[in-house]
Structures are given as C-alpha cells and as structure tokens.
Symmetry: C2
Amino acid sequence: MALNLDQVGSKTEPIPFTYDQDKLILYALGIGAGVDELDFVYEKNLKVFPTFAVIPIVPAIIKLMGRAGINLPTVLHGEQRIALHRTIPTSGTIHTTGTWSSVYDKGDKGAVLNMDFATTGPDGQPLFENTVVLMDRSAGNFDGDRGPKTERFDPPEGKSPDFSVQEATSPDQAALYRLNGDKNPLHIDPDFAKMGGLDRPILHGLCTFGFAGRAILEKVCGGDPARFKSFAVRFMGPVYPGETLITEGWKSEGGAYIIRTRTGDGRVVLGNAVAEIG
Amino acid sequence: MALNLDQVGSKTEPIPFTYDQDKLILYALGIGAGVDELDFVYEKNLKVFPTFAVIPIVPAIIKLMGRAGINLPTVLHGEQRIALHRTIPTSGTIHTTGTWSSVYDKGDKGAVLNMDFATTGPDGQPLFENTVVLMDRSAGNFDGDRGPKTERFDPPEGKSPDFSVQEATSPDQAALYRLNGDKNPLHIDPDFAKMGGLDRPILHGLCTFGFAGRAILEKVCGGDPARFKSFAVRFMGPVYPGETLITEGWKSEGGAYIIRTRTGDGRVVLGNAVAEIG
C-alpha cells in the first residue's frame, strides 16, 4: 500500500504524556523486572529504567504513522535509538515532538521510515531523544532513494563477551507489555499475526530492547540509571513470547559496548547495537 | 492498638471508580490469566472476570480502615464474599457505598471487622455486593462481643473433588497484582513483612481468590461470567509469591460448589468456601 509521501518532513506539535509511579512499575514488570530488582517495582526509592524513554513517545509515533498512511499488518519495527540527557523523573507530564524525517525505498523489501522524537521534561528542558526506524513491507517500489548504508557494529570475531545475561520471557510477556500503550494486535491476536505473515503473535521489539537494557544496566552500570547514556539497536528477527533471551556485551572504545541479543535457539534478534555508558 | 470503636456503623458516601479495558486486562494478568484465556486479556471481545468485583471497592475499604484506626502491619484479610447481580461492564464509572457493619473481639487473636459494600453500575442500578472481614491482630481484648460462630462449609469427607486446577503463581505475582490498587507494603516490602511477623512478603489473599475464581469459571461455568453468581471464602494461611495453588471443587446442593485451595505443599490457604453457579 502506498505511503502519503507528501507528509515526509511532517512534525507533530508537542504531545503531552503524563505518568505516575504505577506506569513505571508496569513498564518494569513488562520488560521482565521483578522483586529481585525491587527498586524498579516498588514505589519506595523508585528508580526508572532508562529504556522507559521509548514509552512516552508512543502517541507521537501513532500520530506520525497515521499521517504516513502505514499499513499496520505489514509494519515492522526496524531500529530504535534512545539518548538520555539525564535520569527520567518518577512522575510528571513531559512533552514529545515527533518528526517524520525521511523515507527510503528498499524495493520488494518495503519502505523504511525514519522518525525522530525530542522529549522535554516537566521543567521544559531536554530530557531524552528517540530515533525510530519502521519498515512497511507493503510500501516499497515507489521510485524513491534507497538511502545510505547503515554503519555496522558487530561483536569482535572470536572474542568472548564481557558480559552475558540469560533470561526467559513469559508466554504472557507481550500481553503485559502492551499495557504500556503499543496495542498493535500483532502482539496478541493470532489472526492478525497471520495476516502479517507470521505464525503467531510476536513480542514487541521494544520489549526485547527493554530486556537488553536491563542486562546492560545491571552488568555495566552497576544498576545506576544515571550512567546509561544511549542505546541504539536493530531488530533482526521475531521473538515469540516465552522464548529465552541472551544478551551479550563487548567493551568497545570510550566506554561504549557492542550489544547482541539472541534467542535460546541461537537466532540473533537484536544486533548492530551500541550502548554508551557514562 | 485500639480501634476507633465509635466509628462502628460508619457508612461512606458513594465512592466513584472509573475503569477501562486496560484495568480489566491488568487485573486478569494479576490473577494469573494469560493468552490461553485470550478473551480476558485482549480488548477484542473482552470478557470480565467476576472476581474483578473486589477491585472497585478498594477506595471504600481504605476509607473505612482509616476511620476504624486499623494498624496496617498487623491486619490480615480474613474473609471475602462477592455476589453479582449481573455481568460487569467492560468500562465505565461505578459507585460503591461501604459500611463498617460490626466488630468482634477475639481476645489475643485480635479484632474482627466486618464491612459490607454495595456497588451500582454506570446505570445506577445494583451491580454487585462485597462482604469483607478483616482481622487486626493487635486490636483484640477490648471487652467486646466475641460474635457468632461462622457457618462451616467443608469438603465431603473421603470424596474426590469434581474438579481440580493446579497452577503456579509467579514470584512477581504480588508485584503485579498490587497495581490493581491494594498497595499494602506487606505484599512487596521485606522489612514491612517482618514488622508484621512474616518471613517475607505474602501474596494478596484476593489474588489467591482470583486464581480460585478463574478455576471455578473455567471448570464449572464453561468460561461464561454470567453463570458465576457468588463466591465466599475464608483465607486460612499465607501464600508466598511463586507457590503453586491447587483449587478443588465439590458439587453441593442447588448448583453450589464447596471450594478449597491448597498450596503445592498441602497447606489449605482458602477454605470454608462456597461458589454459587447459575
């Protein structure tokens, strides 16, 4: 289906997002945290996972997806990047401005849409940024630019990771995660998933992103969200709720880590990924 | 600690509770439902668990507990009864009036507080009733009436149950369930649990109640909430998050079932229980 290409460059007004401690705890549980990480699931001394930055922008994404004319059953989440200016407060109203920055034509593979989001805190000052890359598999071949090659970030060949975290997702992980706001039926509706050419509903890419972020926070940041500066990933393949995720990291230059997440059966599902640690 | 006995008979104003599909899905996940019970965790064709009736009354309970001067670390949930006039709508604003009906003096065991709640639907007509029995272990010996003997409902001796459902709770079950509104730290805070004389945080009795209600709904009501008329239970002992629950039912007179829930190691945690099925 054709995109509304005249909307490229379109920018939203600042969209408010109000949250409280319950929303943060719901997010934490949705990305697999539990009572072993009590500070993230209990309002006494509550800490905020840095990857929560992907949640307040959901209304802006939905708005831009509508303007772009994306075909929901054939859209996949390609890439995500977050960059934090400071730690996220434990409640408040924050504002996000979203821009559909560019679109690239990948032919039969589909169309790639790049969107950028800037979020300001309750004080009106910059809080975090997001970049979202979506792939609409039904929207390629519009005689557009194929776009630049993406920079590659691969684990060093033959070198053991500096950390590794293995954790099972729950069969109900997506049912819980979607309460954070991304209600795409692809993640819960078997019939809808089949319409999109998938065997069954898949986990949100951003849920896998959250599991990987938790692993980084624990193993590299000593559990301190203030040290988590940025995280950029490519989603490489579907995760089915209930599968095990293994996140590994390799220390790179300047405190950065190359990150990779595989499923229990060895498929890379999150790669080309870098986390910057302060 | 002494109760405010001059408040016995106290009645609240009708207290509003507004909910949407997300709150129903959060409740369903909190009592262990998942994608195997898709109609309860997905907004398309959403069904409402009858035991959700315990949630909208939480603000009224908290108000009455405040008036009664209950000592939170020593209070336990003794009994709960729900009776449904009709199925619960999938969203809306409903109103609950709560009454602290009576208090009994169980001596060194504590004080027993009986509270009754009547809830009307968005149309202002009766929707469901709750009876809540709380035990404040620090508030006995006030020279009060010991109260009547409770009617006993025990499984028939030597007879196999007509149904049995075994299911594990999650170690994070209470952390999730408390997002429904009962934030008593007893269910998440290790230090607070110790203040109350418990080894560690315990599952909400009403979470166990929800697990038992799901078993009844599946095995006796064919999954149809309209057939679930009432459910009355006594909480007999603590459940620790992560423990397995085994709910059994014995067919009794007039379509009623005697219900009992045990932990995996055989302790009865919910008993003296009857469900009425239509």
